[in-house]
């Protein structure tokens, strides 16, 4: 079976990387190949890295409240570059109302604080095998 490659990215100005690092490590432990973007990446940098690294999914971690424009921009860039087969998911401090809007826009899933990393692993295994 082919090993899935995941880009965990921190867009925007937010430096809180505890969640991103815990998720990256849990995914690695579960057998994924994980690339961590580092802090304060622009949507352009993230999408370029995703294409260059040929990843299957991108996970965005945002705790600053800037999730709507940042997800929107990443989705737009993926479409423009014909890379919208890459699964986009995310996590952070994101209100319920915004989650439904993000899903409508094309974000596959949002994981809130307190999420079990095994749920994230399961979600990716299911979505990437289908």
């Amino acid at each position: 079976m082919q090993i899935s490659r995941i880009l965990i990215a921190k867009p925007g100005l937010d430096g809180h990387d505890r969640g991103a690092k815990v998720v990256a490590r849990a995914l690695r432990d579960a057998g994924f190949e994980v690339i961590y973007s580092g802090l304060r990446q622009t949507p352009e940098q993230i999408v370029n890295a995703a294409i260059q690294e040929d990843v299957n999914a991108i996970g965005l971690s945002i705790l600053s409240g800037a999730h709507m424009p940042l997800f929107d921009r990443v989705l737009g860039l993926l479409r423009n570059q014909g890379a919208d087969d890459i699964l986009l998911f995310g996590g952070g401090i994101i209100p319920e109302a915004d989650i439904s809007e993000l899903k409508r826009m094309g974000v596959a899933e949002i994981f809130l604080p307190g999420s079990d990393t095994r749920e994230i692993v399961k979600f990716l295994q299911q979505r990437l095998s289908s």
């Binding site: 925007g12 100005l13 937010d14 430096g15 809180h16 990387d17 505890r18 690092k21 815990v22 490590r25 849990a26 961590y36 580092g38 802090l39 304060r40 622009t42 705790l63 600053s64 409240g65 800037a66 709507m68 424009p69 940042l70 401090i93 209100p95 319920e96 109302a97 809130l112 604080p113 307190g114 079990d116 990393t117 095994r118």
Partner: protein, 541 residues
């Protein structure tokens, strides 16, 4: 004090084979005279108000004066935050604490491309002196103490604050408050830096030196463990890295040629308070004792105020859950109680909705009321250090202090905190602890109510605060007005002078004051310093 390992548990029906604190420290079945050993009261504890201040820095503690109730707040435009400040003051809050948005924290103007979507989101947007004047409109700066959490651009915001005071006719030596200028914990944990460590340290020392000479009532730095804990550290790591950061600042101030008793009385600290009640109380007591001993023995401080670890506490944001958010009120209450029993000098209690968004007015009011109930109804304020002498708490205090000292030795051997940071030492220690905690939660070794146990799917969430894009638009409009109305030649010349001074070893504070008085923006000022200092990218650890 010696710690003797107790024998078998007297209870054969223990629920678990091992009992651990939130930080993963194993707790013995029983603490007694035997486990604690002999305690030299004068040496280890001292009465409250006496060296080594284990029992508190003031003789009567809250009998004399309650802690300052200081709720951290800020969102949207300066007008909106000014309204929230006035609301909190009307409801009995006794100090202000400003949260700035991410562009401000990163030294960017609201109309910078990188600021898109971030303006006013997790704090208030401040671009120039004009915004700062609006933020404190109707609030006399000689009547209230103000804490500013601002880190990398701290000297710029302090300059703006002093400039607001000038316009209000308040002399600088009347200003009370605290500047969270602690950049080391940014590299360690929160990661909102601008410049590399060396020039950043120079800016911190400039600020401390300027404040020592001009703002005698102002805490020139708040050395912060809060963010270290939020990033996932243990209680011991929080204590050790924070106090070791304090040592680093003291070392750099001495290298600048200052005397320890000139600056040490205005160093202040900021800790987290998590759920494990006794572990937290012990941490606060150990903090006071360890800092007092460090200042006396390592630095030869003579002034009693130099020995006192004065600290603000905030309850643990990372302990709050998005699930069943009303439970967060209870968590915050336990944490606030530990902070008070531990002798905090000021306190912020988190709001129940903070795992979802910034707090609504109502949620912020419940958080403030939590402190008022502890202060006026619980009775814990009646006597200082009510847990002093407890076998358990004294043993934990001792063990916490020793474990922190062990970290001091490791970091000293690396050549100090700046070197340790460059090697990624505190960062990787914290990452490991944070991952272990996550595993403990996922294996249910650590129960989190409503998250991995007692889960219910039908809980109604509270209403939450929505911050739209209007703040961004309003902020950009005002910024452009400011730019068009100011004397742009004066701005250019002040920025040029700043740049040339940054290339020398001069204290930059007076020049920053000139820049902000002429309405230079935060983006222009920080951008000018970037040209000289460069920027920082974290290596991969």
């Amino acid at each position: 004090m010696k710690t003797k390992q107790p024998g078998q548990s007297p209870l054969r029906t223990d629920r678990k084979s091992e009992f651990k604190t939130v930080s993963g420290k194993v707790i013995q079945p029983l603490y007694s005279q035997e486990t604690l050993g002999q305690v030299d009261y004068a040496q280890e504890l001292g009465d409250p108000g006496q060296f080594p201040f284990t029992r508190g820095i003031y003789p009567s503690m809250y009998r004399g004066r309650l802690w300052t109730m200081r709720q951290f707040s800020g969102f949207g435009t300066p007008e909106e935050t000014n309204q929230r400040f006035k609301y909190l003051l009307t409801h009995g809050q006794t100090g202000l604490s400003v949260a700035f948005d991410l562009p401000t924290l990163m030294g960017l103007d609201s109309d910078d491309g990188l600021s898109t979507g971030e303006v006013g989101k997790c704090g208030v947007a401040v671009d120039s002196l004009e915004d700062m004047l609006i933020l404190f409109d109707g609030i006399r700066l000689d009547e209230v103490s103000v804490s500013m959490t601002i880190n990398a651009p701290a000297p710029v915001l302090l300059a703006m604050y002093i400039a607001v005071a000038e316009k209000q006719g308040v002399p600088a030596d009347q200003l009370r408050g605290t500047l969270q200028a602690d950049i080391l914990k940014e590299y360690i944990a929160q990661k909102e830096w601008i410049y590399p460590p060396e020039p950043s340290m120079r800016l911190v020392v400039d600020t401390i030196e300027y404040c020592s000479a001009n703002l005698p009532l102002y805490n020139s730095i708040s050395i912060s463990g809060y963010h270290i804990r939020e990033a996932g550290s243990t209680a011991v790591q929080e204590l050790a890295f924070t106090l070791r950061d304090g040592i680093e600042y003291a070392d750099w101030c001495l290298q600048r040629g200052m005397q320890v008793d000139e600056f040490a009385p205005r160093l202040s600290f900021f800790f987290n308070c998590h759920n494990d009640f006794f572990e937290e109380v012990a941490k606060f007591r150990a903090a006071r004792r360890l800092w007092a001993r460090t200042m006396k023995e390592r630095f030869g401080a003579r002034n009693e105020k130099s020995l006192m670890c004065r600290f603000h506490t905030q309850t643990a944001g990372c302990s709050l859950t998005a699930q069943q958010p009303y439970n967060n009120i209870i968590r915050t209450t336990i944490q606030a109680l530990a902070a008070v029993v531990g002798g905090t000098n000021s306190l912020h209690t988190n709001s129940l909705d903070e795992a979802l968004a910034l707090p609504t007015e109502q949620a912020a009011r419940i958080a403030l009321r939590t402190q008022q109930i502890i202060a006026h109804e619980s009775g814990v304020t009646n006597t200082p250090d009510p847990l002093g002498g407890s076998y358990f708490v004294e043993t934990l205090t001792e063990e916490t202090e020793q474990a922190a000292e062990e970290y001091f030795r490791i970091i000293d051997a690396m050549g100090g905190m700046v070197n340790a940071i460059e090697r990624g030492f505190p960062q990787t220690e914290i990452q490991e602890a944070s991952y272990q905690y996550q595993r403990a939660v996922e294996s249910k070794e650590q129960i989190v109510v409503g998250v991995n146990e007692f889960v219910s799917s039908d809980d109604q969430g509270p209403e939450i605060l929505q911050i739209g894009r209007q703040a961004e638009e309003a902020q950009i409009r005002r910024l452009r007005e400011v730019r068009s109305q100011r004397d742009s030649q004066a701005v250019e010349s002040n920025l040029d002078t700043l740049k040339r001074a940054a290339e020398t070893t001069a204290n930059l504070m007076p020049l920053l004051l000139d820049c902000v008085r002429s309405y230079a923006t935060i983006g222009e000022i920080c951008g000018t310093l970037k040209e000289v200092f460069g920027t920082y990218t974290e290596p991969e650890f």
